[in-house]
């Protein structure tokens, strides 16, 4: 009985923790978060995979980090003459039950004005804001792509 109660309370605690992390029910699942190393005052890019876990479509609408002056949602593009550039996008849609990958050469989180150096092996905290699910905090591993 005690064991069962303990199990139950652990389960409840886990559920509460999970809810606490995601800010609300049905937050998209974030996996494989990583960011590039960079010097203090410089920029980095963060990448991750977002999986819609509920029946509802959602969208990543903003991001921030205590380790950076600003974080923007960006998309890198290349035109037919080989010129690349990037621009801010207002949102990155996550379909119900679908997956979006932020990966080099496409969507990424532009991490600007690093407050301190991002060294390989360290972590960068990212706070993602979804249209419906609200805030989700993830730790991005610092590594070379």
């Amino acid at each position: 009985m005690r064991a069962r109660l303990l199990l139950l309370s652990v389960a409840i605690a886990a559920a509460v923790l999970q809810a606490g992390c995601s800010g609300s029910n049905g937050a998209p699942a974030i996996s494989g978060a990583w960011a590039r190393p960079g010097p203090a005052g410089g920029n980095s890019a963060a990448y991750l995979t977002i999986a819609g876990t509920t029946g509802q479509a959602d969208a990543l609408i903003s991001a921030s980090s205590p380790g950076a002056g600003m974080v923007q949602l960006h998309e890198a593009t290349t035109d037919a003459s080989g010129v690349t550039g990037m621009h801010e996008v207002p949102r990155i849609d996550v379909p119900a039950g679908g997956t979006v990958q932020l990966a080099p050469g496409g969507f990424h989180l532009m991490v600007m004005n690093l407050t301190s150096e991002l060294a390989i092996g360290s972590k960068l905290e990212l706070e993602l804001v979804f249209e419906h699910a609200g805030k989700v905090v993830v730790q991005a591993e610092i590594k070379q792509g």
Partner: protein
């Protein structure tokens, strides 16, 4: 100015990928690297390069030959400054193959991805390969900053910077295009730039070019092939090390570096050529200087008469640009000779300029089409009917071009679509307008969707197909869609003065500083 190949025929598959359709975006993300490679390979390389079908998860078959220049030539010179503030010349790397890449250190995605790939290729090859990273952002990438940044570069890399003019001259010689793109956040501009990697062999001959997205394995394979095949000496013409800047050749008194910073220079009607000038490594930021500009043909003969350039210094900008209205008879490669006298000293220099064929677009120096672009009021306040931007800046939909013309107001017309994207440059012109509208409150910034669409349950749905989209009536009235620029050549920007005259136009990638200078010229009454 660098060449601008085949922009008028954006790749079909690129367009589909960037269509904005959600599943395509997912697909792009999933197969991003391979798709980008396949897309670019089709757009840039010779026929026979990787096909779109190569967008399978498995690596495409390596075809080293597709990266090689069919007719190798001496590598253009690089004479810049390393992080220790020491002079660097590409000639100093003779004896080792060198990979060359132009980028900037505040670039978080494309540049580190490419530099990482170069590092992997160099490691896989073994020892003896060097790499050169040339910044296209000398303002932020000073020697001091580069010294901090080199720690983040793989072994064997040299990072280089220089003055604005030195960087522009070097990039032009390599055919590298770049432009500053403001984000609206002070100091947080980004750079659009060519992101190819070049391979120079141990004899200083430019042998191969890798488009962005090329895998490290392909670079290594090409490195091996190039190192294994020594070209006949005849293939290597004059060594680049002994070259002197073209500006110095005809210097009567003081040599002057001339940089053409226009994103687009057009043939036929007289149009603006924006120059920055420097002498002895320092910019000639003299707002009282009126340089003389003479167009020259391929054999150095003068074409037309000399014109006097107007100094322009937009508010809050350090650089003084000089704008000359030059009539270039036909598209192609030309030169301009520039002469100026300052404090009793005569300066002279020259620069290459590439003129584009304007096709049927509204001629520079001619009246703006009197067509009415739809405003928010025209469509009952339904933003979706005038813009496909999901988070539109409604300031760009308040006035019609017809209103501005009637009021004698200068305006910038931005023909671009956030949703119906036929080239990856799409959407960027709108971002630029959002930045500039805050700088120029008296100038009308007007956004026009290029393609006809309907709004179905609050969602813009294109009429027909993106392969062959139908232009909106106002877009067609500006003459876009005709050869050599098809309906899928987007975006376009037209700058019109208070007299209703078209003063500048841009296609594809355009620098916000460039448009800023033209608007500034118009506002100062030039």
């Amino acid at each position: 100015m660098a060449q601008r190949p085949a922009v008028s025929q954006p790749d079909d598959d690129a367009a589909r990928v960037l269509d904005g359709g959600f599943w395509l975006v997912v697909a792009m993300a999933a197969a991003c690297g391979v798709l980008v490679l396949a897309t670019i390979a089709r757009g840039v390389l010779a026929p026979g390069a990787a096909s779109p079908q190569a967008a399978a998860p498995s690596a495409p078959p390596l075809d080293a030959a597709s990266f090689l220049y069919p007719t190798p030539r001496s590598a253009p010179p690089i004479e810049l400054t390393d992080p220790d503030a020491k002079a660097f010349t590409l000639g100093s790397t003779r004896g080792a193959p060198v990979l060359v890449f132009f980028g900037y250190t505040h670039c978080p995605d494309v540049c580190p991805a490419t530099i990482g790939t170069m590092g992997l290729a160099m490691d896989a090859f073994g020892t003896g390969v060097r790499a050169v990273f040339v910044t296209v952002d000398p303002e932020r990438d000073t020697t001091t900053w580069l010294k901090e940044y080199v720690r983040f570069l793989p072994a064997g890399f040299t990072a280089l910077t220089g003055t604005d003019a030195e960087i522009r001259t070097t990039a032009d010689a390599w055919g590298v295009r770049y432009a500053r793109v403001e984000t609206g956040v002070p100091g947080a501009y980004s750079m659009s730039h060519s992101a190819e990697v070049y391979l120079v062999d141990a004899d200083g001959v430019l042998r191969a070019r890798f488009p962005f997205g090329t895998e490290a394995e392909a670079m290594t394979a090409v490195l091996r092939k190039v190192v294994a095949t020594t070209l006949p000496v005849a293939a290597a013409t004059a060594p680049p090390t002994s070259s002197t800047p073209p500006a110095a050749s005809a210097a009567p008194v003081g040599a002057m570096d001339v940089a053409v910073v226009s994103s687009a220079v057009w043939a036929r009607s007289p149009g603006p050529v924006i120059l920055t000038l420097s002498a002895a490594g320092s910019p000639l930021n003299d707002p009282a200087l009126h340089p003389t500009v003479q167009l020259e043909g391929p054999s150095g003969d003068a074409v037309g008469g000399p014109v006097v350039a107007t100094p322009v210094q937009p508010p809050g900008v350090d650089t003084v640009s000089y704008v000359a209205s030059v009539a270039i008879p036909a598209s192609g490669d030309w030169r301009i000779e520039v002469a100026a006298t300052r404090e009793g000293t005569a300066f002279a220099g020259s620069a290459a300029v590439t003129a584009l064929d304007p096709g049927t677009t509204a001629p520079l120096g001619g009246p703006a089409p009197g067509v009415r672009t739809p405003t928010l009021d025209d469509v009952g306040g339904n933003a979706r009917a005038v813009t496909t931007d999901p988070a539109p800046d409604l300031r760009l939909s308040q006035r019609s071009t017809a209103d501005a013309l009637a009021a004698g107001q200068a305006f910038v017309l931005v023909i671009d679509s956030t949703k119906f994207r036929v080239s990856p440059a799409c959407g960027r012109a709108i971002v630029m307008a959002r930045y500039l509208v805050d700088r120029w409150r008296d100038v009308g910034f007007i956004h026009l969707e290029p393609y006809r669409y309907s709004v179905v349950t609050d969602t813009p749905v294109l009429d027909g197909s993106l392969d062959n989209p139908t232009l909106t009536e106002p877009a067609a009235a500006w003459g876009i869609g005709g050869a050599p620029w098809g309906t899928r050549s987007m975006p376009w920007v037209f700058v019109v003065d208070g007299h209703g005259i078209v003063r500048a136009k841009y296609q594809g990638v355009m620098g916000s500083a460039d448009v800023d200078v033209i608007v500034s010229l118009i506002e100062q009454g030039g």
